[in-house]
């Protein structure tokens, strides 16, 4: 492991920001620390950087315990939330700052700064001040500034929070491309799961100072280990009791169940393609149809339980009040802290993937 946090604890008064945090990051990987606001993810990042001191536990970088090494000497580049660009310095001076602090040769500094300006595509803007730049340009400067002293590890605190929703997507791709190009190990904090899924190689989910799960985006999506992860990732409906449903009669009673839209299939009873599945399906009534741009979101009432599913616009039109066959492929059943997948047992032997 290249970067490791071992049994990290941190309290701010009564508030526990980190409870026995353990994880490792491999070299060259891009990791997202994902969690709701106030979950402690930023504190974890700041402890890694040395901006915050843990109450107990060790931060290890390249096999060396760095607890007592001041932040400036840990070889870490840090992109701050809102960037913290030096307002009274130009783009050039901002990027050169870390190099000047190291008292590097002027010529060397110039070359390195110009190299970075070129890398982030800000040629011709070296003499501008931060308030003459757009949000995206500022992010590029912050990125270049953090990279200038050639750090071994790059930390980014909510790098997209200060950017318009429109440009955000574009910048995400740009940043991912850049980081892969530079090949630097990086960890970024975000509260936006879409962002984490899109950019990161691996996601670490944090809630209330606890590490809930670490894994690739697909793993986290497909196999949530805890009830928090199951609810946090994706759009999901939480139901109090699901054992009355066809195909799920064996479920433990009174446990909460999570159903995502993609676990639900709604089709008309005369649909040839789904004919074989009718025995495993309940009947429900459409109570609401919402247009989501590229698809429809149907809300169906099945025996009083409301379920949601997405419907392609290419399929036959439906209307509110219409009776549909409703099939649930699988659910997550929450048991205390854990989440377990349960499949619809009536589907045994049916080749769903072939549909």
């Amino acid at each position: 492991m290249y970067v490791e946090m071992k049994h990290i604890n941190k309290n701010f008064g009564d508030y526990e920001a980190a409870k026995d945090i353990n994880f490792g990051v491999e070299q060259g990987k891009m990791i997202a620390l994902l969690g709701p606001s106030g979950s402690g993810k930023t504190t974890i990042l700041r402890m890694l950087a040395g901006l915050e001191q843990q109450d107990s536990g060790d931060v290890v970088i390249e096999g060396e315990v760095v607890n007592d090494i001041p932040p400036g000497e840990r070889g870490i580049g840090f992109v701050f939330q809102n960037y913290a660009l030096f307002r009274y310095m130009t783009v050039y001076e901002n990027i050169a700052f870390g190099l000047r602090v190291q008292k590097q040769d002027k010529k060397k500094i110039h070359d390195r700064v110009m190299e970075l300006v070129d890398l982030v595509g800000l040629n011709g803007m070296e003499k501008r001040y931060p308030d003459q730049l757009s949000g995206g340009q500022r992010q590029r400067v912050a990125f270049a500034r953090a990279l200038a002293p050639r750090p071994q590890l790059l930390l980014l605190d909510e790098p997209f929070a200060a950017i318009d929703a429109k440009v955000r997507k574009e910048l995400r791709e740009w940043l991912k491309k850049m980081i892969k190009k530079v090949g630097i190990t990086s960890i970024f904090v975000t509260h936006d799961q879409e962002e984490a899924v899109e950019v990161a190689d691996e996601i670490i989910i944090i809630n209330e100072g606890k590490l809930e799960q670490k894994g690739t985006p697909v793993e986290i999506y497909k196999k949530p280990k805890t009830s928090f992860v199951a609810q946090f990732i994706g759009t999901s409906a939480v139901l109090d009791d699901f054992s009355g449903f066809k195909g799920f009669e064996d479920l433990p009673k009174n446990n909460q169940a999570i159903v995502r839209p993609e676990f639900v299939e709604a089709f008309k009873s005369d649909n040839e393609k789904f004919k074989s599945l009718i025995p495993a399906a309940e009947t429900g009534e459409i109570t609401k149809i919402a247009f989501r741009g590229s698809y429809l979101e149907l809300t169906l009432s099945v025996n009083g339980i409301l379920l949601k599913t997405n419907r392609s616009l290419e399929r036959r039109p439906v209307s509110v009040g219409e009776q549909m066959c409703v099939l649930v492929y699988r659910v997550y059943i929450l048991d205390e802290e854990d989440a377990n997948i349960h499949k619809n047992k009536l589907l045994k032997g049916v080749d769903i993937e072939a549909l």
């Binding site: 007592d68 001041p70 932040p71």
Partner: protein, 281 residues
């Protein structure tokens, strides 16, 4: 482990240095001298202390100082609100000059203000003549004393209100107007509550300054025991003057004055903390 952790605790350097300088200077220049006053007055017994501060002239001086400072602070709240409003909301020629001169009482030495006001409001003075026609004697009375305190206190209120008014968006009033509220209703129910913390802060500062004021009031007040125009600061100063040195008495009165100042400071801090908390929500 814990020994190891001490180092590098704060990211930004300079904690020890600035803490050292701040606490040293604060202690040497402010706290220790003030503590000497406390120590001096604690040397007295309780009855001695009480006897000193309940002398008729002392009690009267406290009444005068607090009373006049209070009236002046109230007057300042009214005019300060109008001035701040006019300076923030309207455009008119000479506005910048007015804005700059509001702080004249801060910049003008109190002694200069004192002798000038005293002359202006005396029977031969330009304004004093006018007032005496109306049967009001300004100089050498509590009226004059209060006028001097209004002069001293006005910038506190205006400067406390201005930034708050600047931040108060026009949409507030517009929203209220759209909902059918009248101008005066809008002012009382929408604007005034927003300004109250700043107004109270300005009031507190003006009051604190007024109660302890010396230079600007001693000339205009006349310092007559019979007329009740002696202020507390004057009494203390009298006790320090050679010929009638009375350190115990001075220390005892100073202690009471300090106590009043602390209460006012506490009041201002509470106002600001509650206001800060409210805006956070």
């Amino acid at each position: 482990m814990s020994r190891k952790r001490k180092k590098g605790k704060r990211v930004i350097p300079g904690f020890g240095l600035t803490m050292g300088i701040t606490v040293t200077l604060l202690s040497l220049l402010i706290l220790i001298p003030l503590a000497s006053v406390l120590a001096y007055s604690f040397r007295m017994s309780g009855t001695e202390f009480l006897e000193l501060i309940t002398r008729p002239n002392v009690v009267q001086a406290f009444m005068t100082s607090i009373g006049c400072a209070f009236v002046a602070a109230v007057v300042n709240c009214v005019f300060g609100l109008i001035l701040a409003w006019v300076l923030v909301r309207y455009e008119f020629p000479g506005k910048r000059l007015m804005d700059g001169m509001i702080e004249l009482p801060f910049a003008l030495p109190t002694a200069v203000a004192g002798i000038t006001l005293s002359r202006m409001y005396s029977d031969q003075g330009i304004l004093g003549r006018l007032l005496s026609h109306m049967g009001i004697q300004a100089s050498y009375s509590k009226v004059g004393l209060t006028i001097a305190l209004v002069f001293i206190g006005i910038p506190f209120v205006v400067r406390a209100l201005q930034p708050v008014l600047e931040k108060l968006p026009h949409t507030y009033e517009e929203a209220s107007e759209m909902l059918g509220a009248s101008r005066s209703y809008t002012f009382r129910r929408v604007i005034l509550p927003e300004l109250t913390p700043a107004l109270l802060t300005g009031f507190g500062l003006a009051l604190a300054r007024g109660i302890g004021e010396y230079g600007s009031v001693i000339y205009i007040s006349g310092n007559s025991e019979k007329e009740g125009t002696q202020v507390v600061s004057y009494i203390i100063m009298q006790k320090l003057n050679s010929g009638s040195v009375d350190y115990e008495g001075a220390a005892a009165i100073a202690l009471v004055l300090l106590l009043i100042s602390f209460l006012l400071l506490l009041f201002i801090n509470i106002v600001q903390i509650t206001a800060g908390r409210r805006t956070k929500q």
